[in-house]
């Protein structure tokens, strides 16, 4: 485990104390990013899901990876989602889009289960993400006859199962490794705060 450097200069709220859990999860995330497989952190509010992920991605080599965070809320629809996704990728050739060559683009979707459920229980951004993960394919929303192929991108996500739609279509979540985040124990909290 990495020791905590108390000489940290910066906003106090940005300060992260490494614990056994963050170290463990950093290793797991490392493993998954290398294999381009996503991870899904699930846990109640205040279990440090977002912190773990953001903290890990801050340590990544900027030359090899690009990190883009997408916050979902109940107004996120597939179109808004697609705008955010496309804003991060460049045209490579023809219909192929992706981050600059040699880099991997990681989208981190916070609050994955927040989007509004339509009358039939579908969340359109979730469908879009699944289409991208399964087939690496999106349709240009202005010129619907044009397809775009996305390369070298991957997704990770976190969600709070006690809010939003509670659960997300298993057809999407099955592509992720699921990790439950539990509230930190007293000892750990005391190492962080005292």
């Amino acid at each position: 485990m990495q020791g905590f450097n108390s000489d940290y200069e910066g906003l106090f709220s940005n300060l992260v104390v490494p614990t056994a859990e963050t170290t463990r999860q950093s290793f797991l995330l490392d493993t998954h990013v290398a294999k381009k497989k996503g991870m899904l952190y699930v846990g109640a509010a205040g279990t440090g899901k977002t912190t773990i992920v953001n903290n890990y991605f801050a340590t990544l080599d900027k030359e090899k990876t690009i990190f883009a965070s997408i916050n979902f809320n109940s107004y996120t629809d597939s179109k808004a989602m697609q705008v955010v996704i496309e804003s991060q990728v460049d045209k490579r050739s023809g219909v192929i889009f992706g981050p600059p060559l040699g880099k991997v683009l990681i989208y981190f979707m916070d609050d994955l289960n927040m989007p509004y459920l339509d009358k039939y229980g579908t969340q359109s951004p979730i469908c879009l993400v699944r289409q991208i993960i399964d087939y690496g394919l999106v349709y240009d929303r202005d010129h619907l006859e044009e397809k775009k192929k996305l390369l070298d991108i991957m997704f990770s996500a976190c969600m709070n199962p006690k809010s939003g739609s509670f659960i997300v279509d298993l057809r999407l979540t099955r592509h992720f490794t699921l990790v439950a985040c539990l509230t930190a124990e007293k000892e750990i909290l005391s190492t962080i705060y005292f």
């Binding site: 699930v42 597939s78 469908c127 619907l144 298993l170 057809r171 979540t173 539990l182």
Partner: protein, 525 residues
Amino acid sequence: MGLAQTGAWGCFDEFNRISIEVLSVVSTQVKYVLDAVREMKINPAKNTFIFQADQDEEISLKITVGFFITMNPGYAGRTELPENLKALFRSCAMVVPDIVLICENMLMSEGFSTAKDLSKKFMTLYNLSKSLLSSQIHYDWGLRAVKSVLRQAGGLKRAEPDVPEDYILRRGLKDFNWPKIIVDDRSIFAGLIGDLFPGIPDESKIDLDFQAKARVATKEEGLQAEDGFVLKVVQTAEILQVRHCMFIIGNPGCAKSTIWKVLAKTLTNDGHTTVTDIIDPKAVTADELYGCMNPKTKEWKDGVLSVIMRDMNKNNPPYKPSHKYKWIILDGDVDPEWIESLNTVMDDNKVLTLVSQERIPMTPEMRLILEISHLKNATPATVSRGGVLYVNDSDIGCRPYFDSWLMKYKKIENGLPENVFTLAFTHYLADSFTDDLRHKSHITPTCDMQCIQSLTCIVDQLDWQLHNNKQQYEQLKKLREENNEEAIKLIYEGFFVFAGMWAYGASLDEDKIQFSNAWKSLSGK
């Protein structure tokens, strides 16, 4: 207006799919016409009328005009007719027709001479199936299903005119229905068929040649040509031969996509080039799917599906006339808002009607495949229109995936890891263990495939590190020189245990400690 001028009869099919605002406009218009007709009855000389009060336009009227509406009442996604419209039409209830007679006639027209007996057996089977099998939304024992079985049976009959007719019908019924029957109902259905056709052996006509080809294609994709999987591929091919639209239904991670991909490859290998196009219909809005009219400029804007259908129909690039099969894969949840617009495509009309009045027919090469995990929101009208392949979780399972993954390890460390993982799979992930795990409280639902994919992903990376991290590699080399197989085996078993712990344990919430104990006792530490 056109109807009134020509005096023709108009049939408005599925009338209540129109939104309520439009319906009230329609009802006033119909009222104008009917009032004019009534007036004309009294005064035959008056053959014009004012159509809309705000436009002083007189149009001519022919007395023979007639309006008819057909609709399914009370479906999801349909509107109730407003009272003033209801008052203008006389309602007539339609009941389910006597299928036995229809069946008998169709059998006769397909060339069966003992049609009377066979149709009775046929309908008894369907009625019993309806009441005895579990109620699944994708089961359909109605007229459309009957028709397609009979058409298939007719084909079988013509292929082998010398085989007794009851043999043929039995085979047709079994082959047609088997793919969609869920595991729990299989023994009941087989029992029913056996009782109705006593003394006839249970044989199905298997295209061995095609099966072998499917096997080859599966292997080429680096997958395991398991019997269960190949059977599903062959069944899909059979359904696609008789139906131009089909559903592949199954829980997530049960190899739905792999089935159609392998089938496409099999057909392509066979010289029937197959091209596919994939859309998740719910990733775009319904307007973007079918195209829409700009309300201000009246300009037509094409949608994803309309473009694909037209290109396939006209062989525009990227499609070529040499493509033998063209599949549109609709991979996503079904809901009445978009699927009902496909009704005309899915039934015998085979035409996509767009809002722009354009009609795009499906050519014989085109197929529509819907890949879905459930049919919760589908109406019976939709379900009865397509062939169904139901993939049970146990049909394929995750073992073939695991075996495919193991092939990577054949060449590493003289196959040691392969042995270790095979043993570990049976030792740690025995059925009793995974079943037990399924009943524990997970923080969100998971499936077996998800866990096993996580496991393989972590093991892969650990193995990569072992070979690429200098320190670890030195150690490995040392062990190799010492010929210490046991130690290397132990390393790989360690990988498996570690990965398994995260893959299977990480998603538990309250039962984590229980899992940890069980896992520890399995690993003997």
